[in-house]
Subunit: 557 residues, 2 copies
């Protein structure tokens, strides 16, 4: 019984995503018979996940333990923290807690998924949700979306403090500085474990205040006095939107909004009071022609060059309402997310070709939402946790963050650079990784959640590289005689019309195999199929150095 | 006749690649009945060119005018300047001119392609190849490969000066500074048109000397005194290799080389005297175990994270001879080429996970090979051309370079931001784009050159996103009765075993269509196929929100 009791006082901390990756953030904390979940994010597919729309965490563990789950606590409303919610809530309908803006954005999402029986709870900073063994407290922080929070979990073993995505902005747009006072109070009580955002752990210095971007925008608006101005940024960066609107107001310009998510966010954020838009400032895209170029700003999605985004459509003359003209002044107020560099570059080139001036990649038109090394050091000094686990980031970021913590004097055995699925068991005296739980990527493709796996992806990759060749033959069941075919159909392999010779050769290879089988009176279709496949593969590789997928089909009549 | 005469004195300058793109550099200069070609480069496929190996220029124009071509003049031995040569020489066998190293690297390439009847001519700086109407002069410049040259074409209308890829390195490793004296002499004679490398036209300042990297390497070698050191860089950057070898010598380390292209280049460069390797310094990878970690350096390919490269294989424990160990010190001496960021990141994370220290993305372990704004200004001031055409780079780079030229006082009408295929006609008094010639991308996939085009790529894309579904039915010719099938085969669409219900539904849809056709006695197979396709598409999209490629096949018996 001693053993059981001991283990009963251990808190388990497990990430279902967000470690060794950027995105798909989800952390599970389990104590006694209670489980709480922090965030439920998605990530975007890697290049080798062909055709996949989004990736969500494998929540097998949560489904198995659904009765213990008290709720999902959301730190902020970014996709990598809320994007998996609709899929997860379909499996486990538990209450969701979050700030007003987070819940507002979640509502839009759930509505799209026709989920209307979820219990959503709006929380305010310093509010504590009392559970049986854990009390969950929201603590204001700063990030590239308003109303972002850290989360502190109070237990009788000590406090677990999860920073969430954060930076420390001493001059934030809404005036709400990260609640360092509360962190100091918690520290005094004793923070047992800190999980902290490692996204920028490789970067020295401090992240600049969002306010600096406002000054950069003013300068550019002044410079582009007589031109139409188009600003592309992340829809969720509402403080950025506010600063664009402020600049527009200062220079007497109307604002039009383009892009579905931008329109959504401007709607939700204005309604909930996070965006202060002067009366009569917003105009419809259809009314742009009524104004001089110097009288308007268009705020648009597409800062990452996404091919279907509004800015990309403008760049390729595919936007129904906005045509890029000579003299347009375009500000891309964002940094490329790794992997998007070429997409953005393509859009920028197209915009330039249309005669627009494009400002991008400049220091004072974008700042990060994540703490850099000096801010991380500060949070470590304030929180003074006993144990530490870097959270959110690729391995190299987690590693650097761990090194940083060591530099600050933490013993290395108190630092846990974990993988998703690792179970960290912790009590007031000790912490240890004791095992792993099932977790991983669940791929979402259209309506299918998890029905695209390795085999399907392997086939898609094969098809994408060399296409396919289908061989159909109809054979009489009794005599084993070829009644029709072989017919060959290829797709994604070669221009068939220019390769008649190759196709004739392929047909001859198949005919030889068929004749051989007829002669030998072989009626085992598996053998025949395999023989066609092997011979054809050899022939095609010899002739083309390509390996299309070969699909032999035998129809028995 | 007057008209003809006039036009007879015009020089035509046309790019077949390298404008509005990075790579595939190829410029054609035509005067009277003579054509010379400068460079014959390849580019690497865009993300949407699925399965394509490399991209080369469309040389239809050269094939049509093959009798006029006097030679291909190579500025330097990088793939984006020589990579298309084997393919082009198979179509038009003309003499090739280039520096000793360029020709050495070309020889390796031609050997691989079993081309042994090409006339290769080694040229030296300031050497002039005399043709009937054009004299072609090689002029030493600096770049990230030794023995790089600019090219000046002397005509009775004036000089056309093509910088080639260049930077101005005042302390180059081999001591050979760009031949600015010769450029001044040419300028005095009168440079009619300058084509200049715009790759770094967006970057202020000057590119650092290659020598600075040597100092950075020394510092790191000192820091990693007791560790095994692995340095990844571009194989062709022989000066970089020299500096790594120098550092190895200074710290008493042996050098092992990994990666096919690295082994090739070290061989060719040592043989031709471009790489000075102390005796007994090179060791075989197989002998690594005979040395202490502190006694060796491994030079490897893979600085761009290329999945099949030596470094990537080391990172994924897939390298036969090198296993990454705790404490290994790895230097990535290169910047990511746009598009490769995620690949490199993946490799770095794997190396970190294996306990290695990885140094990357630091200023003093890599420098660019291309001139930045201050160097470009200098070359404009030295050359003082009458007309100017930015060369080599995406549109935005060409544009910035043009702006730079204007800032220096060139009239904007004398600057030509051209597209590939544009024909710039020029004589001593005037220059004008007068038309275009056929050009574009020729895709190379395996042995196929140009047999993969838009339709094949579109199919590959379609297949890669949602896979395919094949429907086969055997029908009796006379009665129109279904004899066998419908059979359904799918690949890359869904896990079939977990989607039996979906497949049964699909079969029923097809059966309905077949029955309907039987009832109506329709024997037009095109109609039947189309009907199956439409109905199945609708059904599958409803059920899955996916659009696999649907291939109905009717076998007539």
């Amino acid at each position: 019984m001693q053993l059981f009791k001991k283990s009963a006082n251990k808190i388990k901390v497990m990430a279902l995503g967000g470690l060794n990756e950027v995105g798909k953030n989800m952390t599970v904390i389990e104590y006694k018979d209670e489980i709480i979940v922090i965030d439920a994010g998605l990530s975007f597919p890697d290049d080798d996940m062909l055709g996949v729309d989004i990736v969500i965490p494998d929540i097998t563990y949560l489904i198995k333990n659904r009765d213990k789950i008290k709720g999902i606590f959301i730190t902020h409303g970014h996709e990598d923290h809320i994007g998996a919610l609709p899929y997860i809530l379909k499996k486990i309908n538990v209450p969701v807690y979050g700030s007003k803006l987070s819940i507002g954005l979640i509502q839009v999402k759930l509505k799209e998924h026709k989920l209307n029986n979820v219990k959503l709870n709006v929380t305010t900073p310093r509010q504590i949700i009392k559970l049986d063994h854990m009390d969950v407290e929201f603590i204001r922080n700063n990030h590239s979306i308003p109303d972002a929070c850290s989360i502190a979990v109070h237990t009788d073993q000590g406090i677990i403090y999860h920073t969430g995505d954060f930076k420390i902005d001493l001059t934030p747009i809404d005036g709400d500085v990260m609640d360092m006072h509360r962190i100091c109070e918690l520290s005094k009580k004793g923070i047992l474990l800190m999980l902290a955002d490692s996204t920028n752990a490789e970067r020295p210095g401090s992240t600049l205040s969002e306010k600096t971007v406002g000054l950069g925008l003013y300068d550019l608006f002044r410079k582009a006095e007589n031109n139409r101005i188009i600003v592309a940024t992340f829809a969720s960066n509402i403080h950025r939107l506010q600063q664009i609107i402020n600049a527009a107001e200062r220079f007497g310009r109307k604002v039009a909004v383009s892009g579905r998510s931008m329109v959504n966010v401007v709607g939700v954020a204005s309604e909930l009071g996070y965006l202060d838009v002067p009366e009569n400032m917003l105009i419809d895209l259809n009314d742009l022609h009524r104004y001089e170029d110097s009288e308007v700003v268009i705020i648009t999605t597409g800062s990452q060059g996404e091919p279907m985004s509004a800015l990309a459509r403008m760049a390729s003359s595919d936007h129904k309402k906005v045509e890029i003209r000579n003299g347009d002044f375009i500000i891309i107020s964002a940094h490329p997310i790794p992997g998007n560099e070429k997409l953005i570059s393509k859009v920028i080139n197209c915009l330039f070709e249309k005669g627009a001036e494009v400002v991008y990649d400049e220091v004072d038109i974008h700042v990060s939402g994540h703490a850099k090394q000096e801010e991380l050091k500060l949070i470590h000094r304030l929180a003074r946790p006993k144990f530490f686990m870097p959270a959110h980031g690729e391995y190299r970021m987690l590693k650097k963050h761990a090194e940083l913590a060591e530099e600050l004097g933490m013993p290395s055995q108190n630092i846990f650079v974990n993988k998703t699925g690792d179970v960290l068991e912790i009590d007031r005296n000790s912490a240890k990784v004791t095992g792993t739980i099932q977790t991983g990527n669940v791929l979402v493709d259209g309506l299918g959640v998890g029905d695209v796996g390795n085999i399907v992806l392997r086939d898609r990759k094969h098809l994408s590289e060399d296409g396919l060749m289908i061989v159909v033959v109809t054979i009489s069941k009794e005599e084993g005689r070829v009644l029709a075919g072989p017919d060959i159909i290829s797709r994604g392999f070669v221009y068939v019309r220019e390769s008649e010779d190759l196709m004739d050769g392929a047909k001859n290879v198949i005919k030889d195999v068929l004749r051989d089988c007829e002669d030998k009176n072989i009626k085992e279709w598996a053998y025949l199929k395999n023989s066609i496949k092997e011979n054809l593969k050899e022939y095609l590789y010899q002739r083309t150095k390509r390996n299309p997928m070969i699909l032999p089909i035998i129809m028995e009549v």
